[in-house]
Amino acid sequence: MSSISARRLAKELAEIHSEGCPVGINLVKADDFTCWWFTIEVMGESLYQDEKFTLQFRFDSGYPISSPAVQFVVTDGKQAPIHPHVYSNGHICASILGNEWSPVLSVVAVCVTLQSMLASCKEKQRPVDNDRYIRHAPDNPKKTQFHYDDDTV
């Protein structure tokens, strides 16, 4: 069974291995086509100097038509960045992961977008409704329908 998703991900992986990731982004785990981990650091001046976060991608067989489930890893002592769009359980409110996902995007493109989301952060704080959200949050962030009203990156 060589699904479109497996073949697409194999190509993305081959490109990462041969071309490398953009600066500050590193692939740390890709043992299969269901779950990949990256580390993300913000380069240059930012509120996240010297912080390193781990980003998890989960893929289903509908990828890339269906978006990957992306969140920060918050186990094994890892922490989600403190950011107005990142919940303490690692879930991220970003339209590119929801209604603005497009199958022409790639895993690396998502990493770069989230890196720039952190880079442009002006104030380190959790989303206002963090506590309420994480109490009821589904395991899969794709099951949350975030509302994206803010057009700032």
Binding site: A6, D32, T34, H85, V108, K143
Partner: protein, 386 residues
């Protein structure tokens, strides 16, 4: 290494081709971007049955039809006034892709020969990039200059035969290895692959995975390729073949009517209402996407049925295992993963090119501001059914 030079097998072993097979622009102007431009931005494969939307963006018919079933938007430019009715076949692109696929390995071989001539005995690191026919062992040998030199003496020899293209392949499988069929992706013993393809990808009796009805419809192993083809044509007359299948609004249809729609195309009528609808919906997509190819490139109805069946079994696996505890799926994917990653491995050994940042399409992102508007949606993901 020779002996498996069958064209079909070449196709199979060239499974994981991508634009990185070609050197950077400075070394081979335009080739890498040409190889990219002829690929569908959704699946990253060469366009299969290319179609364009009104904005001019081009995709495989199957890819864009599947996508438009989830969202009315051009994946590339996000224009929203697009729909399936706008799809126009792009036979010129199809022709271009076929020609490029024919010349691709030849060009790679020319590049390889040219490179080794230029670089002489002291082969540069760049060489490895286009060297997609060397074995893994060779990647190790590259480290030692003596091994490299010995190797290059061979390649430097002006008697290098272009006709050898494709005969020296990576990880050449043995006759008793399972390899994925290039047509239907089913894993088949290498020694059986030609018979399998000649038989129109029919299974050699696989009672575990196929429902009896599917088996009946897809025929028994005793059937020959010829009878298969004839059977396909019986179902869809040549007049019908000229028209795309219309999309149905299933809401107004009784189960019986949906079953009739399926029977018309000699498809199974088993399963609950949602299964029936999903099956017919996917059949319309597969059928119409096939129609968007030039007649020479079209698959037989028989193979389309096979593809529908595979799609259905993938859907089942998908709904059974939620993404969070997808251990079965994970296990299934593991071997596939290893195969594909191994196929891609020689390209990874390219330390010379770790520098440039891959091109990332610019993306527009927005975030929520009004924190009271978050809605939890705990509904199960359902198959796409309108």
């Amino acid at each position: 290494m020779t002996g498996f030079s069958d064209k079909r097998l070449d196709k199979l072993m060239n499974d994981i081709q991508d634009p990185l097979d070609f050197p950077e622009n400075t070394a081979a102007p335009g080739l890498r971007s040409l190889d990219t431009a002829l690929r569908c931005p959704i699946c990253s494969e060469f366009f299969e049955g290319p179609v364009t939307l009104i904005c001019g963006h081009c995709f495989c018919s199957l890819c864009i039809r599947t996508f438009l079933g989830t969202k009315q938007e051009c994946p590339t430019c996000r224009r929203t006034d697009v729909n399936e009715g706008h799809l126009r076949v792009n036979p010129v692109m199809e022709e271009t892709v076929l020609s490029w696929q024919n010349s691709r390995s030849f060009i790679l071989q020319l590049l390889k020969v040219g490179e080794s001539r230029q670089n002489g005995v002291h082969g540069s690191k760049k060489r490895r990039k286009i060297d997609d026919s060397d074995s893994d062992l060779d990647a190790e040998r590259i480290g030692s200059s003596s091994g490299r030199g010995a190797r290059d003496d061979d390649s430097d020899d002006s008697t290098v035969k272009i006709s050898e293209v494709g005969e020296t392949e990576l990880h050449t499988p043995k006759p008793n290895d399972f390899v994925p069929c290039p047509v239907c992706s089913k894993r088949v013993l290498l020694k059986d692959i030609n018979i399998h393809i000649d038989n129109g990808c029919k299974e050699k009796a696989d009672p575990s995975s196929s429902k009896s009805q599917w088996a009946g419809i897809l025929g028994t192993k005793s059937q020959t390729a010829k009878s298969t083809k004839r059977k396909g044509k019986e179902v869809v007359s040549s007049d019908d073949e000229d028209l795309p299948l219309p999309k149905k609004s299933y809401g107004t249809l009784k189960d019986k009517a949906i079953k009739e729609l399926l029977s018309e195309h000699n498809l199974p009528t088993t399963g609950d209402r949602n299964t029936l609808i999903a099956r017919h919906q996917q059949w319309v997509i597969i059928y119409n996407a096939n129609r968007d190819k030039s007649s020479k490139q079209r698959k037989s109805i028989e193979i389309l049925r096979q593809e529908l069946k595979q799609w259905e079994s993938r859907q089942k696996g998908k709904s059974k295992t939620e993404i969070s505890d997808a251990t079965t799926y994970q296990r299934e994917q593991k071997s596939e993963f290893e195969r594909l990653v191994n196929a891609a491995r020689p390209k990874k050994t390219t330390p010379s090119s770790l520098s440039p940042v891959p091109q990332v399409r610019s993306v527009h992102v927005s975030f929520h501001k009004d924190d009271n508007t978050i809605v939890l949606d705990s509904e199960e993901e359902t198959p796409r059914i309108s």
